[in-house]
Symmetry: D3
């Protein structure tokens, strides 16, 4: 029972933060294999291209050997069926997260009742972290070295230094 | 990796509701073995005795073969060390749950940083259910048949009919 | 169609505050008749006796002619059936109210699906008011004249002056 | 007193969901007449044109005989004065709703103190539903048949299939 | 100790409301000198130009003699270092404010651990007020005279009357 | 202006935690003098006697020279008038804190409109800390050395070891 569970951690990771990385590491200890599934679609404009986001994730998780970084488009519920996974992992930080995540989990269960969403709490020092905030600070020339992996920090510098 | 995870679902289960049962069932599909750990201690006065709570849980979960019903006293973090488990399962319902659960999860991680708390969302029809409400309704002579397992319903009748 | 709706505003009113009175007045403009239903039961110890609570409510609402003050025991859902009402009125103040009220409304609908709970927002100056706070202030000798009707203020003085 | 109350249920209904329809049905049992008032204005870009939104609402409520579907532009408080209504109906789902709705209700009361906002809770199965989520799912090719009326489902297919 | 504290109240003030003014007045009684620091940057499009926002703030605070109105660009944490202030003042209204403000305060402390954020609660009558709502009402021709200072009201009329 | 502000940090401190101490230290940098005002009254049963609470506070703050530890009974608003202070300091941790604190702050302002409540956020590592939790852990034999000052830890051992 449950020994061979493949879990999916979906997100836009625009860009990856230490909070995401913390959730990935925790997940890797709970399940056999974790697919970090990077969203490609929506009208949502991303700061980092899909290729950049995949590359930064791969570089930052290279020491974890049961993690795979993939992209997906379309409905998460359909993607899960395709790869035969029914476990979704999400990090919970604050109140606003809670509500949105709760809604998404119920909606996904509604689309396919086998889908189970599992919530993990990141390290307390990351409860205030979000990709949006990291980008704002980087854009204004602030130091983000303790919020993101080294490779993300450099990419952020490349993106915003030129301006 | 993670194939043999033993997870613990702690609570007072005073009494067991369909919401608890729903979380137990979901957990049983995610991990190798689940220990439902019934709290015995605190000054907290329980409506159902420890024996009653254990019996009702055992009766209601007898068809799930990777569930064990046990009691524990003292600190949860210590109990987890004793039984060599580091995964705690909790159900999340509403806002107030969220805050209390968040605090407990961080506190437990603080006492032993290997402890990971995993949150599951019960079926939407149970988001309003609590043991306290069930007892209030039963005490006032209301029908609780859709909120608790059959055996709990009967025990509630025994408890409150006499009054 | 809905012209003859009898609505029920249940509560313990221990004691009546200006916030409760505000909700009663607003309700009286929305429905044909309002029954303010004072709870008599539970293990809950009240500061004011049922008779006192009824008397203070009657005195404070004597100028509203479609309000009746009654007491009830047992389950609200059953009481509603007895008096053939299916509309419950509740005031919403803050976040904690919201959650509890939401749960109660869903539970009542579950017990009888015809029951509709209607939420009203009291005047903004009463969003911080609760019976408990009023009693604490009165007990410590504070002035509560702007939080409760005159007759309640006097009764509070009688209760706490002697001590 | 209150027998002839005209209540207004305002919204953008972009598009109508089963959650909206549930609130409309509940409202129709509480008040003499309900005007579903569709907003036309703001800079907000709508997915469905005003005509489409009106038509889908009319088609979906044709069996309720005290419902009228109208559009309005400008301030809700002014519109209410024009049609001599002072009762606004709103559905409450989750925490974020609560806060926004609370603010709107207080603001409207501030603009005209006779305006009373009444909150109803939709069926529990719709607490996770929003027009935005429905559109996202439809856009990604997911099945929305249990979230919206038949006619809305078809319109959504027309809108997103072509892309 | 602390006698000479310079505190900063940052914001976009697009436009100034009575709620902001209330916080400014309260702050002026707590600290030696208050700098109201108007943000100039971000991609965020403002309704009022920086010059307009500064002028309206200066006009509305001219009777308070320990208030200075300045603009700043870049990271708040850096600006604070430049002007040798480590106290940030923020108003707290509702739940959503709370979360965002909490995150910002922790982030700023993270960027410079000397930064202390102090939260004040505006007058209860302003708990529903936001610049966004004021602009929406003004745009739709509503009366905003009790939500903003006189000079802001006039500017809003100028902006929206022409349309 | 404001140079000589005396601020009051009221609480029951049953017992003092590192979270309280963190707020005291932060306050001591913001205002001339801080009175930590320990509540003596209410029906509330305390685990630590007033004398114990005062002593532990004095011992833990002996290195801060603008802090005075005092007790008070009765209404906080009256006490503030007596000692001619109008600034109350409170720590904000989580959502439930927020609501209660908001209510208290508005109530105190209502009792005396000069009273200003100032909210500070403790160090992120203390956001999950409460006196109640500390006592529960100590009672169950858990290690609380990183949650409370040394002298409180010893007192807790004395209290609970004997049992």
């Amino acid at each position: 029972m449950s020994q061979e569970i493949l879990a999916v951690y979906p997100g836009s990771f625009d860009p990856l933060t230490n909070g995401h990385l913390d959730i990935i590491t925790r997940s890797s200890k709970l399940f056999c294999k974790i697919i970090v599934a990077v969203t490609t679609n929506y009208n949502k404009k991303h700061t980092f291209s899909l290729d950049e986001r995949l590359r930064l994730l791969r570089e930052s998780t290279k020491d974890l050997n049961n993690i795979e970084i993939l992209s997906f488009s379309g409905l998460l519920a359909k993607y899960l069926e395709q790869i035969k996974s029914f476990v979704v992992i999400r990090g919970l930080r604050a109140l606003s997260d809670f509500e949105y995540e709760f809604q998404m989990a119920l909606m996904n269960r509604n689309l396919n009742k086998k889908i189970e969403t599992i919530f993990l709490i990141p390290d307390q020092s990351y409860t205030f972290l979000s990709s949006t905030m990291v980008k704002e600070i980087a854009m204004l020339g602030g130091d983000v070295s303790c919020f993101v992996p080294k490779c993300v920090e450099e990419e952020l510098k490349n993106k915003y230094q030129k301006k």
